[in-house]
Subunit: 219 residues, 2 copies
C-alpha cells in the first residue's frame, strides 16, 4: 500500500492542497529531517520532546538511556505523535498577511513497543547512526554488550501519517503587486561548517569524506 488512509486524525483540514498521503513523500521527509519531536500524554498533560531517530520501513526507532522516561512511556504502548519539519525558506510577500514559510513536515501517529533482541537492537542503532551520519557505522567502534544493555530502544509502527508541503513564491493580493516592497523567497538550509577535530585525536587521522562532504539533502 503506497498511501496512508485519510482519517479524522491525519487529514489536513486547512489548505488541503498542501497535504500528501503517499509513503514516498512522507518517507523522504522523515529520512531528511535531523531530529523528530515526540508528543505524548501523561495525566492529561501533553509533552513534546526532541530526539534523534531513524525510519526502518514503516517504523520509527528511538534510543536513549535505560532510565529514559520518554522511552519507557512509549514502549508501554500509549499513543504517540511524531512530527518532523524541514524548513526550506522564508516567503516574503508584499503584505505581512501573505508571508509564509516553505517547508516539508510530517505528522504521524502510532504506538510503541520495546526492542529487546540483540540483533534487532543493533539494527535499530545502526539505522539511527546512519540516519544522522551516513557511513559512520562502518567506522566507529560498535556497541558492546554492556553498552547495549545500558541502551533502551523502542519501535513505533506508523499507523497513520500525512505530510504538509509548501513550495514556491509568495502570492499577493492583486493590488499589492505595484508596491515597491521586495518580494521573493529566502532559501534556508541546514549546512555543515568546518569540522572541529577533537583535541585528543592523533594528527594522522584524516577527516572522512562522509564528514567533509556532509549534507542533509536526500534524493
Amino acid at each position: 500500500m503506497t498511501e496512508f488512509t485519510k482519517t479524522e486524525k491525519n487529514s489536513l483540514k486547512r489548505l488541503p492542497k498542501r497535504g500528501h498521503y503517499d509513503r514516498a513523500t512522507i518517507y523522504r521527509i522523515l529520512d531528511e529531517a535531523l531530529i523528530c519531536h515526540v508528543g505524548f500524554v501523561e495525566r492529561e498533560q501533553p509533552y513534546v520532546i526532541p530526539i534523534n531517530f531513524a525510519r526502518i520501513e514503516d517504523r520509527i526507532v528511538l534510543h536513549g538511556a535505560k532510565a529514559s522516561r520518554l522511552l519507557k512511556h512509549i514502549e508501554a504502548g500509549y499513543p504517540v505523535c511524531v512530527e518532523v519539519t524541514v524548513v526550506d525558506g522564508l516567503v516574503l510577500a508584499r503584505s505581512v498577511f501573505h508571508h509564509s514559510i516553505n517547508y516539508r513536515s510530517v505528522v504521524l501517529f502510532g504506538k510503541g513497543r520495546p526492542v529487546e533482541g540483540e540483533q534487532e537492537k543493533l539494527s535499530a542503532l545502526k539505522a539511527i547512526t546512519e540516519h544522522l551520519i551516513p557511513g559512520r557505522w562502518q567506522e566507529a567502534r560498535l556497541p558492546n554488550r554492556k553498552e547495549l544493555n545500558a541502551t533502551r530502544v523502542v519501535s513505533i509502527k506508523i499507523d497513520e501519517a500525512s505530510a504538509k508541503v509548501r513550495v514556491g513564491p509568495p502570492l499577493d493580493e492583486q493590488e499589492d503587486y505595484t508596491l515597491p516592497v521586495w518580494a521573493g523567497v529566502l532559501p534556508l538550509q541546514e549546512q555543515a561548517l568546518s569540522p572541529i577535530r577533537d583535541e585528543l585525536l592523533p594528527k594522522n587521522v584524516p577527516v572522512p569524506e562522509y564528514i567533509s562532504q556532509y549534507s542533509r539533502t536526500r534524493e
Copy 2:
C-alpha cells in the same frame, strides 16, 4: 523572577547538568528558534504541530487562519506544551555509543487565551513577523481590517519552562582514545542561501539588507 521554578513537569531527570531554568537562557533559545512544535491533547490522543511564533515577555504568541483547529484548541485554555530546538552540531565519538548532538532546546508549559483587541493583535503579528525576519514589519504592507478579522491570534502564558543544552567535544571511554577513528564536532547551522526574487517584482526594487544579511544567530 529570573528563574522558573523546578517542578515535576519541567525538571530534567536524565543528565540534570544539561538543564537550565533561568529566563535569560530560555528566552535566548526561544528567540533564535525559527519554528516551535506545539503539543496538545484531544480525546487522549497527543498531537504535535509545527508553527511559527514569537515570544513577547513571558508569553508565546501564535497566529493562523480563523478556522485553525490548533488555535481554537489553544485559546480554549487546554494545557499545551511548546518545544523548540536549535541544532548546533553533530558530536562524533570514537564509539557509536557516545555519539551525540550539540543542541539547545526549550520545553515549556502553559495555557492559552484568545487575543482579540485590535492593538494587541497587531502587536502579536508584529512580534511574529519580526521574529521571522527582523526589519520586515517596517517595510511590508501592514494588515488591514479584513485581514485582521481573518486571522486568529492566541497567547500562551509560560507557566513552567526548562532548557536543555549540550555543548563541546565528544567524551569517549578511556580505552577508545587510541582508536584511529576521526572524532570531533561537525557544526551545523541554518543558513540563508541567495535570495530568489519574485518574478513579478519590478527590477528597480533592491534586496533589503535584512534579507541579504539574514542570520538566525541571536546574541
